[in-house]
Amino acid sequence: MDGVRSLIGFIADNTSGILERTIEHATIVLGVMLVATVFSVVLGIAVQNRGLAKQVSLGTAGVLLTIPSLALFAIFIPLVGIGNRPAQIALFLYAILPILRNTVAGLDAVDPAIVEAAQGMGMGQFQQLVRVRIPLAWPVIIAGVRVSTQLITGVAAIAVLVGGGGLGAYIQRGLTSLGNPFSIERVWTGTLFIILLALVLDAVLGAIGRRTTSPGIR
């Protein structure tokens, strides 16, 4: 109980610093997610009907997700130096697979009869895509975006190891000062606020997903 009280005390005494790191963390995650979502959805649309391209892009994205996060961060350091940049690139590569996979699966699941009906109504390829296929696949795509966001919010904790920012800084400070006052409180603060941020982002994306889903399939 004493531990909890001193953790609450630590958080209360450091609200502005924690807020700053949380915003830093959220900025990294949101920036990466924005780029990754656009990239993966466009790629998913492009490869969905092309068997080989689909296998190759899904396979490559799978390989990227198999590479340990720190290794992927490290590989980009010689190219872009230390700081947030290698972390952002690696997180972007990590975020691709869940969105890409769900975009392809969502589009695959659209009933061909509906697409044919759209065609029969005189819609061109682009209109069919934008007005029929994407809206129908949207809930699945959003689910992929949520999975990726959860994943990279956690992984972004180690951005600090390659010179980046974010809430991992609290964990790192705690680790380097282990045994000194407030070290364990720092670790808990970093860990808990990352979990909290992941939950908040997930809830926000869930709400966005519901609002942007066509009323007909809600």
Binding site: L70, A71, A74, P78, P98, I171, L178, I184, W188, G190
Partner: protein, 274 residues
């Protein structure tokens, strides 16, 4: 860290996947040799030379492999019996809560979990010298490694637990009844019908756990557990890009190799007939 999403999909027989199992080690080997050759031609600074000795790299690879192997064995020993227990009639009501706890655990950042485990278990393995764990496992493997393995087990339980439960619950009830009708006991039905039918789904979970473990083992250096992360960190600290890159490339190849072994195991251990 990487916590790849647990998958419950089982790859059916697919010629392309079979081909992948043969091509992957060749590609990984070729990349390794090409990188090694390229590195040999580089002009290394003395700092880089001393960080990249073969002895260091082999030892760290060994550490990374033992962490991965030990934690995967630990996961199997805990998650499979637990998964079986939670799908039996008496255990079923605990299934929901158990999965909820395991799911929530996935949201914990690996870095935070490792350091918290160090803070909590550090006293058990690090300081108290009269401790039985310290005197056995701790001396043999080093406290950092033991704490890493325990953290990794916590982290990678979910995919195996979930897939064991999914695999067992999706077994056709009629098949189970047929077994009972043939005079099999509950135990025989479990061992000879349910588990063999669940194996493909369970193996997919084990492969996911392997990938999580080899990835997290890269962070073991943070709490003194060794592994190839040591090379990555010293490269960053010394601003030696070649050292960082070598650590990253070797770790990536190791992880992909482990995933390949998981794929081969998935293929070979799948019972014939399904």
């Amino acid at each position: 860290m990487s916590a790849p999403t647990a998958t419950t999909t089982v790859r059916r027989f697919d010629p392309r996947a079979e081909l992948g199992l043969i091509v992957t080690p060749v590609v990984l080997g070729a990349v390794f040799l090409a990188y090694w050759g390229w590195l040999g031609g580089q002009d290394l600074s003395s700092q880089a030379e001393s960080a990249l000795t073969t002895t260091n790299l082999v030892r760290q690879t060994g550490e990374q492999l033992s962490i991965t192997a030990l934690s995967t064995i630990g996961v199997l020993l805990i998650a499979i019996p637990l998964g079986i227990a939670l799908t039996r009639p008496r255990g079923k009501r605990f299934a929901g809560p158990a999965l909820a706890v395991a799911n929530a655990g996935q949201a914990v950042p690996a870095y935070g979990l490792l350091v918290l485990m160090l803070a909590i278990l550090g006293g058990v393995f690090g300081r108290a010298n009269d401790n039985i764990l310290q005197n056995t496992l701790g001396v043999w493997l080093g406290p950092g490694l033991v704490i890493t393995v325990i953290s990794l087990i916590l982290f990678a339980i979910l995919p195996v637990l979930r897939n064991t439960m999914v695999g067992l619950t999706q077994v056709d009830q009629d098949v189970i009844e047929a077994g009972l009708g043939m005079g099999m006991t509950r135990r025989e039905v479990l061992l000879r019908i349910e588990l063999p039918l669940a194996v493909p789904v369970m193996l997919a979970g084990v492969r996911t756990a392997l990938v999580i473990n080899v990835g997290m083992a890269t962070l073991a250096f943070l709490i003194g557990g060794g592994g190839l992360g040591v090379t990555i960190r010293s490269g960053i600290q010394l601003s030696q890009n070649l050292v960082v890159l070598t650590g990253g490339v070797l770790t990536a190849l190791l992880a992909l190799g482990i995933d390949w072994i998981g794929g081969v195991a998935e293929r070979l251990l799948r019972p014939k007939g399904i």
